[in-house]
Amino acid sequence: MTIFKISNIALGALLFTSISWSVVYGQTSLQSATPAYKIETIDIPEGLSAETGAMQFMPDGRLIACFHRGEVMTYNVTTKQWKIFATGVHDPLGILPISNTEILLIQRPELTRIKDTNGDGVADEYLTVTDKYGLSGNYHEFAFGPVKDKDGNLFISLNTASGLAGVSKEPRGWVDSSQLKNRMFSAAPYRGWVMKLTPDGKLTPYASGFRSPNGLVIDPNNNLFVTDNQGDWLGTSAMYHVKEGKFYGHPASLTWSKGWNRGNPTALPVAELDKMRTKAAVLFPNGPMANSPAQPVLDLTNGKFGPFTGQIFVGDMNRSRLMRVMLEEVNGVMQGAVAPFIDDQGLRKGNNRLVFAPDGSLWVGQNDHGWAGDKGIQHITYTGSIPIDVYKMTITPKGFDLTFTQPVNSETASNPLSYSFKHYYYEYHAAYGSNQFDVTPIKVTNVTLSADKKTVSISLEQLKAGYIYELNLTGITAQNGTPLQNKLICYTVNQLKN
């Protein structure tokens, strides 16, 4: 059924595309082709407050999702039937299916293995996989993950606590009360850490310096990426390439470093903390790009979801938008660009969770969780009509190369005025967020379009490490006149290329 439906859509898209071609032919028209992506809204069962905490696919193709009030439900995408799988868990925010009858689920107090042992479709076993981390009782101590690497290790991340509220009289784990006055604090062990759970069941602290790490993904090369939300010590939202033993900037978590004897880490000189930290692979400029990025998901659909295989999609809680992250390794350091992907095309806000279905479509789980956002689930399908978009942005010794998803109009693409660059940086400091500093327009000195009309090489007057290069594109169109979908792209320069 599903396959039939998709080929139908694809056929329609092809027909439609050829029609628009013929319309465009005789006239310079900006008529857009069939949208590359179709968004539909999934019906939610009555009585469910669909604040989506996690979504994954079971091996048999059923969607499994969990929600704020503790429900875990499966959804048969063919029959559109929802079924209860488990209940009563505490603010679950992550799922990893093990089999058609068994999942791992992270809830506030623990990572739990939930299993239907008698085959009636409803779980009857909730086994604690690990609860070897602290719970101060502060409401902001969410737990995220797990994701699994090639070696069978699981990774979870632990949110810091909010200074807007205190801690329980009976916390689990030792409470460092010197932290309670910090805006976001780590009073109980390993808050603000990414934790590694080895296959033999041992939970160890892996990397520190996180504030609100609401999203983890591991690529096929075992690279772990974690997103984090703008706030204190985090000038703008970020995605980190996380490695063992590194510190990523929010100091509260340092309390729980092995052998820590320097008191409240947030009281250390900023310059010292700055030296200790590893910078983000990609920054999401607050405002233009994202306010609160959530789960990243890797496109491994081999084209079923369009031309962006190998890239990462990230949702945002505050905007009706997804973002697309294009990474590259320069001098051994991960960095890259981020652009809006789906923007105001019928997608709701609160895009907390993303998962690719076996058919290559993308499911989006929404959550407001007391913040901005919406509830519910939407489903994004690639129609087969190639979008006109920046496929990738890579750094060169002189500037950047932009490769488009299809050949572009030579005239506008060769015009330096089509590319408006500025650079700026965010300050690392204790205060909430950061202004943009040293905001400077950067002159484009040369633009060359490749013979296949898909890549432009842009030379810039100046290129500096430690800056975000924000590019706004104007006037670029496909050869049929369709305007570029997304005109904003921001590249985080950690390393220059020689």
């Binding site: 009585g47 429900e71 439900m73 609860d131 509220a165």
Partner: protein
């Protein structure tokens, strides 16, 4: 939504027409120093003041404080223009939006404070419009404006009851926090129960289990409702029963409402609290064993807790005592135990105990390894 909005003028005009009394939430319209109004942005995308009222032409000194953990702005719009202003803010080019603090340049805006960060505050002074009306205020930071708004009433009349006031967010109409003196007790008379069928996409059946923040327990608490009249709180941090109550179950509505700061409320009366530090001792009656929680299995819909005490495997199922609402039965198993097991009680805990095995002495039940393989303790209110 559209229907509700259409009802508004009717509701308002009726209320205003019949109410002439002057309400003390009104600011005086004079040329004397401005009246002070403080509005805080607070967690859960709310203004602490869902509405306020001033007389036409009053001088107002408005302090906007950001007590939340994210940035917010504050805009007062012309009557009926909240959503239009929101749209204009959304349509701002990215760079402009940031530099203007998400405040569009718009003729529909009366007064505004661009976005401020947590812990910051800003003051504006203005003269309230001469024209009576409901002037919405809203935060237009991306994503906030559909829920984060309120109403400035410019009027000499009275305000409608807040439960009927469509100018305040729905969540504020029935939250029991009335900001004027027109309290309608009927809205608060009925307790909100979390276990109404509408809380979940399934019919809530007893027994029911929630892992939830509970009072007087660690954050890893488990609340279980055994029958309509009896519930208990079990603590996974210590693997032990904490307390038992009769009456209703729990009200999670506040805990669920946002990001989880308010904890669950007990809808009933606690009649037993454990003060033994955990009733069970393994081998040594003077040593409180180290517990490790392993999870639970559902046995005829009742959770069977699994844990270790000083390394010994234990399971525990709690069911209602036959005298409904009067007590519980705790059934334990100890597999492969080679030591005596002790079950401690407190003489002052208000309960009468009996057991399926072992010997009681001075309120302590002693079981041989063989007896401890499976035994139950019944505890009933005195």
């Amino acid at each position: 939504m559209i229907n509700e909005t259409n009802k508004l003028p009717v509701v308002l005009s009726i209320v205003l027409f019949f109410c002439f009394a002057i309400n003390n939430v009104f600011a005086q319209a004079t040329d004397s120093p401005p009246i002070n109004i403080t509005i805080q942005a607070k967690e859960g995308l709310q203004f602490d003041l869902a509405r306020f009222a001033v007389r036409p032409g009053t001088n107002v000194k408005l302090t906007f404080k950001n007590a939340d953990e994210m940035a917010h702005n504050f805009i007062i719009t012309l009557p009926g223009e909240r959503l239009n202003v929101l749209k204009e803010a959304q349509d701002l080019p990215a760079g402009t939006a940031v530099s203007q603090g998400y405040v569009p340049k718009s003729a529909k805006i009366l007064f505004s404070i661009p976005s401020i960060n947590p812990s910051e505050s800003k003051v504006i002074t203005f003269k309230a419009p001469a024209k009576e009306g409901v002037y919405p205020y809203v935060c237009t930071f991306p994503g906030h404006g559909y829920v984060m708004y309120g109403a400035m009433y410019v009027t000499t009349g009275r305000l409608p009851a807040i439960q009927n006031d469509l100018n305040v967010p729905e969540s504020r109409r029935n939250d029991g926090t009335h900001d004027d003196d027109e309290h309608d007790m009927s809205a608060m008379a009925t307790p909100k129960s979390s276990t109404t069928p509408s809380s979940h996409p399934y019919k809530v059946e007893i027994p029911t289990l929630y892992r939830v923040f509970m009072p007087n327990a660690s954050p890893a608490a488990i609340a279980v409702n055994l029958n309509v009249n009896i519930s208990y709180c079990w603590d996974a941090t210590y693997s032990r029963l904490r307390y038992v109550w009769s009456g209703g179950f729990v009200d999670n509505s506040e805990h669920w409402k946002g990001n989880g700061r308010p904890i669950a409320k007990i809808l009933g009366t606690v009649f037993y609290r454990d003060s033994t530090g955990g009733a069970i001792r393994v081998g040594d009656s003077n040593h409180i064993p180290v517990a490790e929680f392993k999870g639970y299995k559902m046995q005829n819909k009742y959770p069977q807790f699994m844990y270790t005490l000083d390394g010994a495997d234990v399971t525990e199922v709690i069911t209602s005592a036959q005298a409904e609402g009067q007590g519980i039965v705790r059934t334990f198993t100890f597999n492969n135990i080679k030591k005596d097991i002790y079950y401690f009680t407190q003489p002052t805990d208000g309960m009468t105990y009996s057991s399926s095995a072992g010997k009681w002495k001075n309120g302590v039940l002693k079981l041989s390894p063989k007896e401890a393989k499976k035994f139950s303790v019944t505890m009933i209110k005195k």
